[in-house]
Amino acid sequence: MGVLGRNYWNPFVETLPREKLRRLQIRNFRKILKYAKEHSGLYRETHQGIEPEDIRSMDDIRKIPMIDKEDLRCAQTGKEPFPFGDLLGVPVEEVSTFRQTSGTTGTPVYVPESWESWQWRVEVWCHILWMAGFRETDRVFIPFGYNVYVAFWEGHYAAEKLGCTVIPGGALDTKGRLNKIREVRATALLNTPTYGLHMAETARSLGLSPQEMGIARMVCAGEPLPDATRKRLEESWGAEVYDHIGGTEPCAWAAMCKERKGLHIMEPFFLVEILDMETLSREVEEGELGVAVVTPLGRRSFPLIRFNTKDVVRKGKSGCACGRTSMMIQGMAGRADDLRKIRGVLFTPVSVEEVVRGEFPEIAEYEIVVERKGIMDEISLKVEPEQEIGEEVMKELMKRISERLKMKTNLRFLIRPLKPGALPRYTLKSKRFRDLREMKGGEAS
């Protein structure tokens, strides 16, 4: 196996020809569906009359009902065994840990893991970290208290399994974390994009150069990471920065390799369908946007059959210069929940992030606000410069931002300048988009 083997965490799955990958996925879909029907109350009820043995093709799979986060909430609220409810796929005494969704879109969901299922998730993350170049010699600093949020726990366990030295960075402020990175000579970070930028900003304010702190690579979690933000992080830290896509319920299901040109779907761990946004019935073509519907194929404690993630992604091709044969995702366009119609135009906050992070390095933070003014929607962008700038320079900057946003989104933004440091800094999920129309009972279709 030699050198070639070291390029991959598991070359047998990562270079498997596509037609074999597909056969394996359909076989494992049958297995997990059979398991779910036999062990989970939810599927016994909702999947009556569906025979796993009859599933032979993707067309057959498309006839199986989907579930979404609201179904998971219903399966847990007031249902036994507390707090996991009907969906649980193992006896409750086998649950060794659980994580929770962040509650961004409603009541948090409890996601139970047996030791077996947890190790399956960790194995997926070993692939992610290995693809990003993490090796035994890395010292991995994780600048968070992880609480019940899953990604950093997965990254922590996987980095340990790889043989890295892991340094958890909870219970410190940002300055303390920067000092710890220098003290232990950390070489890698697991981070949220927002906090990665904030740490770099804080380092500079302390007279430190983040590029000279020895960080060689970073895997980001918790938020969408448009390429413009990823590149800004790379420039800030002088490091390779990698994205992944995933969630607490299904696990991480796509990640970047060293090429950093799109994300590999983690096949055959997952069966991922990218379906058209209108009907959710047709697999989209390469280059098209679609909603990701994900089935984790080997996780039994919390079986998810055709889970509608509501992540809107652009489908890529299969294969990559790295030699992996898996299907690619070109990038994440946002969450279906975040898509809004503003003055009749379909809008996603990621498009603003791409402009601000990609073209305006002088802007440190921003916030988008949508309001109803009379019968009209008004969209504004609060911008906070990196440092104090003169009135004339700010006017010119606002004009340029407004023009670029108009071109990118087809919407006229009201630009509101703020003083440096005026906007909040986030550590886990940022809240840079506020649609106040919903709060006042207005339309937000």
């Binding site: 196996m1 070639l4 083997g5 190790q119 399956w120």
Partner: protein, 63 residues
């Protein structure tokens, strides 16, 4: 291509099956002893990951 190396995969699958069988035998021998039961369960979690990444590939090679 490494992914088509059927003989090696089949050999590894045999070993993984062997580990699983040995652990089940150990569970029978040490039934009721928490140190045996819990450690055996942990080993089976790792064989699950190996079955997913190795044994399943060997099987699909043979389909």
């Amino acid at each position: 291509m490494i992914g088509t190396n059927g003989d090696l995969l089949r050999q590894m699958k045999t070993k993984i099956d062997g580990i699983e069988n040995l652990v089940h035998e150990l569970q029978l021998l040490g039934g009721g002893v928490p140190a045996i039961e819990k450690n055996a369960q942990c080993i089976l979690s790792f064989t699950h990951a190996l079955q997913f990444g190795i044994s399943d590939i060997a099987e699909v090679e043979d389909l």
